[in-house]
Symmetry: C2
Subunit: 110 residues, 2 copies
Amino acid sequence: MTNETEDLTSPECPAEETLKAVTGKWKPMIIRLALEGPLRFNTLLKQLPGSNKESVSNALKDLEGAGILIKNVIRLKPLHIEYTLSEKGKTITPILKTMEVLSAQACAKL
Amino acid sequence: MTNETEDLTSPECPAEETLKAVTGKWKPMIIRLALEGPLRFNTLLKQLPGSNKESVSNALKDLEGAGILIKNVIRLKPLHIEYTLSEKGKTITPILKTMEVLSAQACAKL
DNA sequence: TATGGTAGTCAATTTTTTCTGACTTATTGC
DNA sequence: GCAATAAGTCAGAAAAAATTGACTACCATA
């Protein structure tokens, strides 16, 4: 079955899509932190020293848009919002893990 | 044996080092093309439509500096320069390959 | 000596990304 | 009703990355 839909907006489509989802000043760290458990906005800001609301907010939106994080509103006493890694997000983490190993090798040489 | 060298310039060092080596508008494509064989400057420019000398030059320098590409001067008739993937470069390519699979999945959904 | 190919560099500009600080909305506690 | 906490948004400024066009250096051939 051939694909009939004309996909005018499609990129050249190599690793671009995934790379876009992972690049940005704060996204890799956010994914790493998401691996350890659900994220909350203000906590996250404190976990990312030097970051700022706007950038973290945008990164979260991008990661949510890319289907890597899932946003859930928790209707509890204080009412808060949690970001958790999706299944797709989990498939990306081995990539980051491999990168960490390569990075560690690079850092060891400094 | 503990590491005695004070490493003031070291980054936080997760996947950052590798990510930096791979990010930029042209670097992933350059690595992909390097997989297929040695690269030459002007040819590369033509293989990367929309690119420009300066950016490609900088990308090559970064990739060389990161130890991903190796620059060799070929002293022949026209005299040219070849960039080939290093062993380290080859260890990075499975990462890009995995990303391609994930990207393809993402593109398939568009 | 001029022309062409290869591999760039450099300064200035444009575009993109990130940062800052002020402001907003929703809910709870006093 | 008033302040506080949580989770943001928005406009403008600053910083970083990419683009442009002109220029350089090397070698070879006509």
